[in-house]
C-alpha cells in the first residue's frame, strides 16, 4: 500500500489515493478515531489507577491517626512527665530566691534560656525554608515535607516564647512589655515579630490542613465524639467547592510569600538583640546574616532528623523517599557552606586584627577553656555537614540522619557559645565582683526547664501527628496529577 500521508518538500501534508480507490482521507480518519479510542481507554485506566493510588495513600497516611500503639503512648507519657518536671522547676524558680535556684548573675544574665530561645527561633525558620521557599520556586519534592516543616516551625516558635518568659522571670509582669515597651527597643521588635510569626506560621499550617481535616472528618468514623466534633469545627464548612479551593490556594500563596521576610526578620531581630547590646563580642554588623544562615543550616538538619523519624515510626517510606534525603543532603551542604562563609566573617576577620576588645573572647574560644566546645561545634556543626553529604553514600537516610543529629546538637551549643562566653567578658571590668558572677554553669532548675521545653516541642509535634495527617494528602495527590476537586465528594450542607 502506498503511503497514506506524505510530506512535501515544503512540509505540507498531502493525501494520496491507493490502488483500491478508497479515499486516503477516510482511512486516516478511521485511524485517528481508533487512536483516540485507545488513548481514552488508557486515560480511564490511568485515572482509575490514580484514584486507587490516592485511596491507598489516604489509608496509609491516616493509619498513624487510627490507633496509637503502646510505644506511642509510652513516648507521650514520657514527654508529659518531663514537661511536668519542668513546670515544677519553674514553680521553684518563681517562688524561691532566684539567687539559689538559677545560676544567672549580673554578668551572665542570659544563660541557657536565651541560648535555647535563639536555637528555637533558628529552628522555626524551617517553615519559611521548606514550606514557603520550596513551594514558591515550585520544587515538586517539597510536597510530602511541607507539613512536617510547618509543625516544627509552629512548635519551636511557641517554645521560643516560653524560653523568653522563663528567662525574664516574674511572668505576671509580662504585660508590662506592652504597657511600657518602647518601639525604639529591639526587645519590643522581637516580641512583635515573634507574635506575628507565630500567627503567620499557624495560619500557614492550618489553611492547607483543612482538606486533610475534612478527610479525617469523613473517613475516621471510629473516633470519639469529641474528636469528630473537633474535625467538624475545624473543617470550617468545607465542601470542596471551587471557591473554597480557591480560598485555600490563594491564602497559602499569600502566606508563603509573607512568611519568608517574616522568618528572616525574626532571626535578624534576634541577632540585633545581641548586636545592639554594648558587648564587644556581639558588636558585629555581620550578626543578622550570620544568624539567618545558621538558622537555615539548622533548619535543613532538623528537617532531615524529623523526616527520618516520621518515615521510620509511621512507616512512610513510600512518601518520604530516599530522593528526599538526597536533596535534603545537598541542601545541607549548600547551607553549611553559606554558614561557614559567615562564620569566617564573624571570627576570622576580628581574629586577624585581634584588637584588645575582642582578644579575650576570641582567645578563650580558640585556645582557652571553651576551645574544646568551640572546635567540636565547628567540626560537627559546620565542617562535617558541609563536606560529608557531598558524597552520595552519605546522603542515604541513615548516615545523613546521623550527620544531621550531630549538626542539631552542635547548633544548640553554638548558640550557647554565642550567648554565654560573650557575657563572661564584660565590656567594663568591675573589680571585686563575687566569684559566681564570672563563671556560669546552668543550675538543675534551668536545665530541667530547658529539657521541658524540648519535651514540649516534641509533644506538640507528636500529638499533632496523632490527630492530623503529617503528610499533606491533597498536595501530594496534586503532585501525582490527581484532580482533587473531582475526587472530593461533597456532603449535604446540613451535615457541615
Amino acid at each position: 500500500m502506498e503511503k497514506l500521508i506524505t510530506k512535501s518538500e515544503n512540509g505540507v501534508m498531502e493525501m494520496q489515493r491507493d490502488a483500491s480507490g478508497i479515499d486516503e482521507i477516510e482511512k486516516y480518519r478511521v485511524m485517528e478515531e481508533e487512536l483516540n479510542l485507545y488513548k481514552e481507554k488508557q486515560n480511564v485506566a490511568a485515572g482509575k489507577s490514580k484514584i486507587q493510588k490516592y485511596n491507598l495513600m489516604e489509608e496509609e497516611l491516616l493509619r498513624p491517626i487510627q490507633k496509637i500503639g503502646r510505644a506511642g503512648k509510652i513516648w507521650i507519657a514520657f514527654l508529659i512527665a518531663i514537661c511536668l518536671c519542668g513546670l515544677y522547676a519553674y514553680y521553684l524558680q518563681e517562688t524561691k530566691s532566684k539567687y539559689e535556684t538559677i545560676s544567672l548573675r549580673d554578668y551572665t544574665m542570659w544563660g541557657v534560656y536565651i541560648s535555647t530561645f535563639v536555637f528555637y527561633v533558628a529552628l522555626s525558620l524551617i517553615g519559611a525554608l521548606m514550606s514557603a521557599i520550596l513551594k514558591l520556586i515550585k520544587f515538586e519534592w517539597y510536597r510530602p515535607l511541607t507539613r512536617i516543616a510547618e509543625i516544627i516551625a509552629v512548635a519551636s516558635i511557641i517554645m521560643a516564647g516560653v524560653c523568653i518568659v522563663a528567662a525574664m522571670g516574674r511572668p505576671e509582669r509580662l504585660y508590662f512589655l506592652f504597657t511600657y515597651g518602647r518601639i525604639q527597643s529591639p526587645i519590643v521588635w522581637d516580641v512583635i515579630v515573634i507574635m506575628t510569626y507565630i500567627t503567620a506560621s499557624c495560619l500557614l499550617l492550618f489553611m492547607p490542613l483543612i482538606p486533610g481535616i475534612v478527610i479525617c472528618r469523613d473517613k475516621l468514623t471510629n473516633k470519639p465524639a469529641w474528636q469528630k466534633w473537633m474535625y467538624k469545627k475545624l473543617s470550617f464548612g468545607w465542601n470542596g467547592s471551587p471557591e473554597q479551593w480557591k480560598i485555600i490556594k490563594k491564602s497559602v500563596k499569600v502566606l508563603a510569600i509573607m512568611v519568608i521576610p517574616l522568618g528572616i526578620s525574626i532571626h535578624t531581630v534576634t541577632a540585633w538583640l545581641f548586636a545592639t547590646t554594648l558587648r564587644p563580642e556581639w558588636d558585629s554588623t555581620n550578626f543578622g546574616p550570620y544568624f539567618v544562615s545558621g538558622a537555615f543550616a539548622l533548619g535543613a538538619a532538623g528537617m532531615i532528623v524529623a523526616v527520618y523519624v516520621f518515615r521510620k515510626v509511621y512507616s512512610l517510606e513510600k512518601y518520604l523517599e530516599e530522593k528526599h534525603f538526597d536533596v535534603l543532603g545537598k541542601m545541607l551542604v549548600l547551607l553549611s557552606f553559606c554558614y561557614l562563609y559567615f562564620n569566617i566573617n564573624e571570627y576570622v576577620v576580628p581574629a586577624y586584627k585581634m584588637s584588645s576588645l575582642h582578644a579575650n573572647h576570641l582567645l578563650d574560644l580558640f585556645i582557652g577553656k571553651t576551645a574544646p566546645t568551640y572546635w567540636l561545634v565547628v567540626l560537627f556543626g559546620i565542617a562535617i555537614p558541609a563536606i560529608l553529604p557531598m558524597f552520595r553514600a552519605m546522603r542515604k537516610p541513615l548516615p545523613l540522619t546521623v550527620i544531621a543529629i550531630f549538626a542539631v546538637i552542635a547548633a544548640w551549643f553554638k548558640r550557647y557559645l554565642i550567648v554565654v562566653p560573650g557575657l563572661s567578658h564584660p565590656f567594663l571590668p568591675i573589680q571585686d565582683v563575687p566569684e559566681s558572677w564570672m563563671h556560669y554553669f546552668p543550675s538543675l532548675v534551668e536545665m530541667t526547664i530547658v529539657a521541658a521545653t524540648f519535651a514540649a516541642l516534641l509533644l506538640i509535634i507528636t500529638v499533632f501527628s496523632r490527630f492530623f495527617p503529617i503528610i499533606s494528602i491533597w498536595e501530594v495527590a496534586e503532585g501525582d496529577g490527581v484532580n482533587m476537586q473531582k475526587i472530593y465528594k461533597p456532603i449535604k450542607p446540613e451535615m457541615l
Binding site: 506575628t196 470550617f236 465542601n239
Partner: protein, 186 residues
Amino acid sequence: MKNYLKNKMVVRLLTVVAFSIPMVLSAQDGEPKLKLKIIETDSSKTCKAIVMIDDTIPVKGSDVNFYVKRFFGLMPIALAESTDENGEATVSYEKKLPGDSLGNIILIAQMDDDDAISDQVIAKWGTKAKYESKISQRELWASRSNAPLYLIIISNAIIVGIWGTMGYILYLLFFKMKKSGLDYKP
C-alpha cells in the same frame, strides 16, 4: 580611818585629773572646721576659705583645694592653697564656666588632708546655660511617648500591612469558607 579618808581623797583627785586630761587635750586639738566665703567686687571675684578650730583658733599652714562642681565629679580651680596666720586661704576666680539656667555654679572648698572637711557655696558666677533635655524630644533614646516619628510610621505601616493581610485571611476562613460550602451545589 585617817588613812582611808586620805586614800579616798587621792583616788578622787586622780580620777578628776584622769578625766580632765583628754578634755584639755581635745580642747587643744579640736576638729578644724572650714568655711567658704565668696567676695565679689566690680573688678574681682574671690573665694576665701577660713579654717578654724571651735570658730576661734585659726589653723595656719593647712592646704585647701578649691573646686567647681561638675555633672560628675569636681573641677579644680586652685589646689593646695595654704592658710595664713588667720586660717585664711584666698584664690581669685577668673574662669568663665557655664552654670545652670540661672547662671549658678557650686563652689567647693575642701581640706587637702581630709576632704570630709569642706564647705560649698552657690554663686551666680556662671554663664546662663540653656539646657535641652535629650529625652524630651523625639529621639531613639527618648521615652515611649517620644519615639521618633519615622520609626512609629514605618513600624506601624509594617505591622498594619502584615496583620491586615492575616486578618483578611482569617476573614476568608471564618466568613467566606463556610458560606461557600453551604451554598455549593455540585
